[in-house]
Symmetry: C2
Subunit: 374 residues, 2 copies
């Protein structure tokens, strides 16, 4: 973020009430348990959600608890899924999530990838019949704890157009991967393959602002500066935006994620990936089961002595951080810096929540009888 954007963001966050991560996590656990999630799974799911808030990715954290709870209440998602391996080799597997909460299915499939890595050096698990799994970055941090390089991808509701199309055909399909340092904190990469997240369109709409012409197209596939065009019948652009600036590359990366998560596992893919809260499931076309994920784990000692690798990661970090800064900037960040900075603030000082999120949690509290507060 440019510094003024940082400043504006921090100012807006500082105006909000803060809630301790621990109390929010406890509330999540109780809500999940209330809706019949087994207690160990409820703890994991809450941890995934709150890790998103701690890392500053507000869109994927407790802001979604109300939605997850609603789907559990309506029986659209199973509270006690029978997550099972449907096909495997020593280093690969396909997992069926049994339409469970993605926050439960994801960690189990990721655990399987790490177990396979422990046994034969690497593990790769494609998942079908799951749901929204939180932030991709959560999973790769687990691999770091075991001296592994973790990979995580998921497909998602289609909001993104391929280059030269005028239609939503692919999700914002993120890729995450992490590398441990020795004395330096880890390098944590977690990026959506669209030019921006859909949330930025919503912010512009709320504020009545126009958007840069590089972010989205209207229903004819032409660049638009009107954020209302996107939910109307437009789409987000792929990373790179257009041909001249590499929009075909963003399209390729989003396709890669869709193929590894949806097509490989037998989940839905492309335009058929269900929305976060599928209200019209009866009518929608389905080409597979649920949402798809892909997890990978590689033991560092499958490639060489971990300490030596981590020392080289430290050297890489030091070198890149010392790059000559572009005029008007403080110089490059290391991937993972912004999320760690958020965590260093929010861990001790609490997580700022917007009023609509607080209200949704208060509503949940009234419905379930579980006390909520900071």
């Amino acid at each position: 973020m440019p510094e003024n954007e940082f400043a504006r963001y921090h100012a807006s966050m500082n105006a909000l009430s803060r809630f301790s991560a621990q109390s929010l996590q406890e509330f999540c656990i109780q809500v999940f348990t209330h809706f019949d999630v087994a207690s160990e799974d409820a703890e994991t799911a809450a941890k995934v959600l709150i890790s998103s808030d701690l890392r500053g990715i507000d869109s994927h954290g407790i802001a979604r608890l109300f939605g997850y709870a609603g789907m559990l209440k309506e029986g659209r998602i199973k509270a006690r899924p029978d997550v099972r391996v449907v096909h495997e080799s020593p280093s690969t597997a396909t997992v069926d999530g049994d339409n469970g909460l993605g926050l439960i299915v994801g960690p189990q499939a990721n655990e399987l990838a790490m177990q396979k890595a422990a046994a034969v050096g690497s593990g790769w698990v494609s998942v079908r019949n799951s749901n929204h799994y939180g932030i991709a970055g959560y999973y790769v941090l687990r691999a770091l704890e075991r001296d592994m390089i973790g990979w995580s991808m998921t497909n998602a509701t289609s909001w993104v157009t391929p280059l030269w199309a005028a239609e939503r055909r692919l999700g914002t399909n993120p890729i995450a991967i992490a590398f441990p340092g020795l004395r330096e904190p880890p390098i944590v990469i977690d990026l959506a393959t669209s030019v921006i997240a859909y949330g930025k369109i919503e912010i512009a709409r709320r504020n009545g602002e126009s958007i840069p012409p590089d972010w989205a197209v209207d229903e004819s596939g032409k660049p638009t500066t009107n954020p209302d065009d996107v939910p109307a019948a437009g789409a987000l652009a792929p990373l790179g935006t257009d041909r001249e600036r590499g929009g075909h590359k963003g399209y390729c990366l989003s396709s890669m994620v869709d193929l590894l998560t949806g097509v490989l596992s037998g989940a839905n893919w492309g335009p058929f990936v269900p929305p976060f809260w599928p209200r019209d499931e009866g009518q929608a076309t389905r080409v597979g089961e649920g949402v798809g994920h892909f997890f990978g784990a590689m033991r560092i000692d499958g490639f060489g002595p971990p300490e030596e690798f981590k020392q080289r990661v430290d050297d890489w970090i030091t070198t890149l951080r010392a790059s000559k800064p572009a005029e008007g900037t403080d110089g490059p960040l290391i991937p993972g810096d912004p999320e760690r900075e958020a965590e260093q603030d929010r861990g001790p000082n609490g997580i700022p929540l917007t009023l609509p999120v607080v209200e949704s949690l208060e509503k949940l509290a009234r419905e379930t009888g579980i006390p909520f507060g900071n």
Copy 2:
């Protein structure tokens, strides 16, 4: 490519002399053999080079033969490297290329990844002490032949700046991956993680044209439209260009490739990756050995029945191809379409070579006594 660019490109190619792929490949084999490369390795290296020309990636094909030959002649690259595994697990390995021709080291390491995949479902090989390995796409096509999903990455001479830096710190670091169809041709993804290839800067310089402000920065890190600024003291921008349009994502992807290829294997990384033809090796700082690559292979039947997967890939292709076209375009391509189109032309009709390339090959012919012609 927009259609007018296609048309201009095809017109320029049609004006050139064409040479049969078979005769060019035979010439390469003889040249490599002349410089003491073992005959089987010479065949492989020639095949890698010519696959680039056949697929329309002129910059990485026979245009570089003169350079490869020169480095062999000067003893900068070993003709008969002792490529060896320095560390391994059932599904992972680090390979030392013994400063061999990348066109020999790459195929051997890729073969090891596929052998490990055959044995335990997947194989992942990080490589150090190699050199330029041709096109990333060549390697993933080999995996397709064995019903595997192939991955290939390499680091490269630093021409790219991180977001918010004003310095060349990373290579154009490509990522390739391929997925087989059943009746449809395969999806082949092969992309550099910079916004454009350096070749586009050279073309603009030759033609005296300005460049779009999204492609590169000058020595202060500001966008430039003067292509001469790049070789002077500027750098290419990462995919996404700036913060607003996702330049941090291109920087993250380029970093990911550098970490998996250079840092994981113990090769050089970031600004220390040697140039294609290192003329000043004595003075340059080195943090590892040679150039780094990373290869992966996953058996499709490690995830499920291959026929079913391929049928789903066909459905994905058909669906994406049928997307509503953006106004003024013929609609989206499928990754791999442009390269296959080139191959369908160049296979039967021959490979067009520019005059400087023909002259470099004629010079090689004179030096070696190996006849060259079409």
